[in-house]
Amino acid sequence: MSTPSRVLATVDSGTATAAVSLIGRAGGRHRLLGSTAGPVGTPVEALLERVRRRVAGADPDLAQALGIGLPGSAADVPRLASRTAPPPQLAAIAVTERALRPLAAVAETAGWQVRALVVQGADILKLATSLADGRVDAILAGASEPPAADERHLVAELGNLVAAATERRPDLVTVLAGGLATPGGRTESLFREGRPGATVLAPSPTDADGEPLRAILDGLRGGGDDGRRALAVAAGSLATVLRRRIEVVEIGLAGGSRTLASWRPGDRASVRTGSVARAALLPRSFTDEILDEIIRWLPIPLDRLRTRDRLREMAACPWGDAAGDGAVLRLAAARAAAARLLARTPAMDGLPAADIVIASGGAWQAAPAPATALALADVVRRPGARALGLDHARALAPLGTLEDEDARLRLMADLFDDLLVPLGTVVQVAGLRPPRSVGTLVVRGSGDPMEVELQPGGIDLIDVPPGERATAEFRFRDPVDVGTRTKRVDLGVTGGLGGLIVDLRDIPMRLPDRLEPRRELLAGWQAPTWPGLGQ
């Protein structure tokens, strides 16, 4: 689709749910008419019909004018569709642990589920069995460039192992990186010519922060409509339209992604992205460690065995149990997943902080907006102020599949207000000295000024409605870090459903180790954002 038509649909098919929306041209520009989501497997036509029915009910004239006035008519509108599949599996193999670590780290951010294998000291039968496993979709083999002294004597063994795996499975895609990637070199010559699987020579994982290798690996998975790649494209377009730095934290059932997009005058947006299988809401290899990470964020009394069983139920029926305790459990799992995502993309922490953080993906959808805002603030912890938004219609990824960049920018410029639910603004401060009061805050908006005494270690939720702008005047007793080190700062903040979140908790977050005090603390923070939590 080069030029967006009068009415179109977006369809984002995930591994757990599918989200659809209808976009129509009204009043000289495109508007988001409505959106909904349903369990994967629900016919897209049924979901589109649900949206169409509501649009026709709310504004019959508009629906008629757009040609979606009649039942069934939405099924025929042009669609922009993205699809997110469960991450494929990649066996990353190197001679030594030291050589493997950067390989596996890069592969982990390219959307693959990584099985890490080391040749040195390993049982050769176990290695060969792992590489031949039918669940492995590709092999990444690498060595330092040039191979280090402790690698050289086993590089030939590594080459033989990988070549043997391709003889068992000729269709296996194989990537040779770093010291193994000499064109026409000894390792490449071990592979049979004319086999159906590709052999790709790739740069070392230490070149340019691993970005060239990551791009190659990312390109080897998913189809042309891959949802996570499309989301990164859409983030770049949104950054250009808004002229802001944007960070998208996307969490889905089978994986997560983090994208940082920066606008540069007169140039295309710079986009850095990482797609991490381990950042899934419920990773395929669900370990006790992951269970502990989720329990760490639970504000409700659920014992360990019961929590594990509830999470197993969620894995079997990811769209179910979305209200009450189920929603709280889901958001705890989303927090843990986002924390894993951020921990596995440390290279992005060194880039300039985003002005807007956007939550995207199915994991964030079934919770009240203020609870989602607080969840983002819990895990994305950097001194400074940033606006928070939610990709509520999950329309960003489908819009990213629009190949014509100009058309995509035009559509985004029309739609950006509709695409994001404003969750509010979060201000995070580092360098506070507990336990006494550290200063005051005066919020000046459209109503009377509001004054707040600032207590370290806590959060204040201040009502600034969506669409409203306010000035937050911070006066600290000692210099603190609010993105810059200062005692006095006035920040322009935008409102949202979560309002202004003044977050004076530790950066990074420190929670009590003991269960009960931690649960009480979390419940205290989260209670204002969940109506009826714990009832």
């Binding site: 036509e45 192992l161 003889e167 197993r312 179910g320 079934a366 939590l533």
Partner: protein, 353 residues
């Protein structure tokens, strides 16, 4: 355009294109053409090839129980090259001391030695037979054998243990729970349907009594882990135990077996069935029974507070606010045994068909 699709062929009829009940997640009661895989790790010898038709009890592969790696000299005629995954056997009458080894599968060449290969072999080999009838669609040495199963399959959500076959017996009603004392040797060779839940102790007793499999609505994570640990110990023993599998139809939290599934299992009672582990499913001969019919408005609560309840869906209720301030699409449902309809999230419901 990568993701665009224009559905231009269908005329706008003016009639609803879909029934609103299509918005309720649908679960197939049975399915045909299921594919299952049998592990074929390096060293195991496949005894079938693509296209082979197999019946229950037919040999599929020879499993090496004590795999070890030997080194052998592989000499082939000029121009031929040995391949990993190929079979190798010593040349009769030309055994040298260094190659005094059994036959096996070529694993990987030894670096720096042109004709030297590592070979997976072993002394104890056990035949593995098929639990189902079907067609072999793929054989990947060192990985797996893939079979397209003949007959119909009832899918579960998880399975543990081994693929097995036996006579289906109903041990409890759909709401029941089987205690260890309720299993005796009279159940030998059977696959038991045990209702809503079973614990690890009852599972290990069932295995000891010669039961071939258990079908249950739910199994708690703790019991599953205990059973899997026990199963690993059994498999490590010198003598191969009889195959025993557990199939959980729904998940981890207690609930009765769904009425349509219970009706199907009742009709299968006394018939030979197979319990598959990968994927989790019960396979049976579809021609032997009439499948139960399920009304289009019959729904079951798949998750949430009314877990396991069943009833009839009446009408859509639109977007509804539920506990915790969460807004979800909902429907009005008349649950069995309840005096009046309740509003439930669509995503907590499932219907069979």
């Amino acid at each position: 355009m990568a993701g665009a699709h224009v559905a231009g062929a269908r005329p706008v009829t003016g009639e609803p294109a879909t029934d609103w009940r299509d918005e309720i997640p649908r679960r197939a009661l049975v399915e045909a053409g299921l594919e299952t895989t049998v592990p074929l790790p390096p060293g195991d010898r496949p005894l079938v090839g693509p296209g082979t038709a197999v019946m229950p009890g037919d040999l599929l592969l020879e499993h090496v129980r004590d795999p070890r790696v030997d080194e052998v000299d592989v000499r082939l005629p000029e121009g031929e090259r040995p391949l990993a995954g190929g079979r190798w056997a010593p040349v009769p009458g030309r055994r040298r001391h260094a190659d005094r080894t059994a036959d096996g599968e070529l694993l990987v060449p030894v670096p720096g030695k042109a004709t030297r290969w590592r070979l997976v072999t072993g002394d104890h080999r056990a035949p593995t037979t098929s639990a189902v009838s079907g067609i072999v669609t793929e054989v990947r040495p060192g990985a797996m054998i893939r079979l397209r199963v003949a007959g119909l399959a009832l899918r579960g959500t998880l399975a543990a243990g081994a693929t097995s076959r036996g006579r289906l017996e109903l041990a409890t009603d759909p709401f029941g729970e089987l205690r260890p004392g309720g299993i005796d040797v009279g159940r030998t060779g059977s696959i038991l349907v045990v209702g809503s839940r079973i614990d690890a102790e009852a599972l290990t007793r069932a295995r000891a009594m010669g039961v071939r499999g258990i079908i249950v609505a739910a199994i708690a994570g703790k019991d599953l882990r205990d059973f899997q640990a026990s199963e690993r110990r059994q498999r490590a023993a010198l003598h191969m135990p009889e195959p025993f599998g557990v199939l959980a139809l729904d998940g981890a939290l207690r609930r009765p077996i769904a009425t349509p599934v219970a009706a199907l299992l009742e009709r299968l009672a006394g018939h030979e069935v197979a319990l598959l582990v990968n994927p989790p499913a019960l396979v049976f001969d579809g021609s032997a029974i009439d499948l139960p019919e399920v009304g289009p408005d019959w729904v079951r609560v798949r998750s949430g507070p009314n877990l396991g309840a069943e009833g009839r869906v009446l009408e859509p209720a639109g977007l509804w606010r539920f506990a915790g301030g969460v807004h979800l699409e909902a429907a009005r449902v008349q649950l069995d045994g309840e005096p009046s309809p309740v509003v439930l999230p669509l995503c907590d419901l499932e219907r069979f068909g």
